[in-house]
Chain length 362, copies 2
């Protein structure tokens, strides 16, 4: 027996490898906690059918069918642009509360702030976990994270939704299995769901993005040799670049891993009709991140993590070779081919750091 | 008679040219609305004595002395780091409400969210204006501001507190006096206080900084040839760089004015004991801003606005000459020597834009 929740995940109309990030990551990293996925358009299939992983977790057509599978919590598993709660979901949430399920949500609109749903939850003694709810008292950042002894590694991206959290979770497991004391710093709702702590930096008041990152890095570094910070957005994304820079300057990484989805051509093209900025060559992105980091604290990109989930084996291998050649850095798809080249780069950087005994770039 | 408030401004222990930005700007731009300043450490002097402008506006030692001068509103005139309400001020605010004064505040901690003060205000029928309170429904930015016909000009800085709002207000008046239809977009609490509209972009949820800027630029551009956007922070400030980049990418300026306080050596050195990053040469800062803007939309720095308030006339003139030589751009201290060189640069950029008929960098 366990105290862990068993989730019915709402991903209605959007369950898929590119469109339901929170659902997908829960299924990849905590599948034992997933009872079913609600998506009328994919009903009758399994997670494996839809995502290529997740085994026999079923997709159901209706809330009722999902409730019949014995979940103890409802998880909002897709993040609409802007993160707000679609009106039609309120009914599902109310029904779930009425049936005694806890509610987990990563939306910007906090479920606990909805007077009606909050009152219903109190009446039914169920809990509402708003993963994006920021704690009070976050300070303004001021470079304290640059002073920690641990090697701080931030994943940075050519775009949103390229695998920045996934790369860190793969690295976490690989580094720990080598006996390197490693901590993961979750900065988004899905990372928080999986790791059980963290702050969604895109949901704090803008002045405190860096402070939230700084506070978490300083805390995580107390007990680790390597701190893996989940990256957010992209410096070249017209909607989210501010969050990315605040996180970069707040966390003061000595090292960065550049994450890229190989098939992506335009920034944010998974949001239909809104994409207009082309993704530059990877070597240019390395330069952009190293320059922007250096405004506050010097940092180096030490590896490239590619997301090749929609490519053939041959095309994926070719893309990895090309990325390594173009950047002069170790490259891999950590999910598909393992994280070894990146683990090696991090282990070497950590060893250099121990030898140098000071806070220098990796 | 007028409906405008008459302010008693709280700047206790901090009234001065570098330490009480909101108070100072109110005294510079809306002196007719200022009854007195409360600061025990400067009591008995005038605004002119303390700031070098502001005439006979008195500084008083106690709340009671200020209330005797007939204010209709209390204005929080200093912004503590992090923007939160010092506990001891709550008593002053409660007393002011009790005496029928409206409350105006630019702090991150919203006065209207304080249950006790809010209840007292309701009971006394006075209003609480939280200048940093963000409206609901701000979208994520996506470059819509790059498509407006108006010339969008953003002030950018080497640091916080360098004169980015002041430069725009000086330019606003100078451009209007030349008959150029100009609108000012306030992005911080003091600009909002003076202009009567706007959104404090550092107080919105981080994902929406760019969207707030975009929304205001699109609105302002409907009725103007030139849109002057108040800048915030600095790309190289470890605490506020995320806000700066979000504002830059959300507002999509075709032109930027670089603002610098000549006597400043370290980022944020006016916050005692926390400064550690040196301010680079101005030409480097021009390159930093043009590069970062260009990740989303190309832009050029077209002039330099220096703040020389603490320099001799001779040193100020020398600093302006040096800035012009180092950057190859027109430079002035718009408060001290007038905004003409910058007005000329903007007028030329606007004319080029009309001639080109398209959204190109200035």
């Amino acid at each position: 027996m366990t105290d862990q929740p068993r989730f019915l995940i709402i991903a209605d109309g959007a369950f898929g490898p590119e469109t339901s990030k929170t659902a997908d990551c829960a299924i990849r990293y905590i599948p034992e906690r997933v009872a079913a996925v609600l998506d009328g358009s994919a009903a009758g299939r399994t997670a494996q059918d839809v995502l290529g992983f997740g085994g026999s977790i079923p997709v159901v057509a209706t809330l009722e069918a999902g409730l019949n599978l014995g979940p103890t919590a409802l998880l909002i598993g897709i993040a609409p642009r802007g993160g707000r709660l679609p009106d039609e979901w309120r009914g599902w949430i109310a029904t779930a509360i009425d049936r005694g399920l806890d509610i987990w949500s990563g939306l910007h609109t906090l479920i606990g702030d909805d007077a009606e749903l909050a009152a219903l939850a109190r009446a039914k003694c169920v809990r509402i976990f708003d993963l994006r709810k920021a704690p009070d008292g976050i300070p303004v950042s001021n470079g304290r994270a640059r002073l920690v002894d641990a090697l701080v590694v931030l994943t940075v991206g050519t775009d949103c939704n390229t695998g920045k959290m996934t790369a860190q979770l793969e690295l976490l497991h690989a580094l720990e299995s080598r006996g390197i004391r490693t901590r993961f710093v979750p900065t988004g709702q899905t990372g928080i769901l999986i790791a059980g702590w963290g702050i969604a930096v895109d949901a704090v008041v803008a002045d405190f993005v860096g402070g939230a990152a700084e506070q978490m890095v300083v805390e995580a570094a107390k007990d680790a040799e390597v701190v893996l910070v989940e990256g957010q957005g992209s410096l070249i994304h017209p909607g989210y670049s501010g969050v990315t820079l605040g996180l970069l300057h707040g966390s003061c990484p000595a090292a960065m891993i550049l994450c890229h989805k190989v098939s992506r051509r335009l920034i944010g093209e998974y949001h239909k009709g809104t994409a207009w900025i082309g993704i530059p060559p990877l070597a240019d992105m390395v330069r952009v991140y190293e320059e922007a980091a250096g405004w506050v604290h010097p940092s180096r990109v030490i590896g490239v993590a590619l997301n090749t989930c929609d490519l053939s084996e041959h095309d994926a291998a070719t893309a990895i070779e090309r990325a390594a050649r173009e950047t002069g850095l170790p490259a891999t798809d950590p999910v598909r081919f393992g994280a070894d080249p990146l683990v090696e780069a991090i282990a070497q950087a950590a060893a250099r750091r121990r030898a140098a005994g000071s806070a220098t770039p990796a």
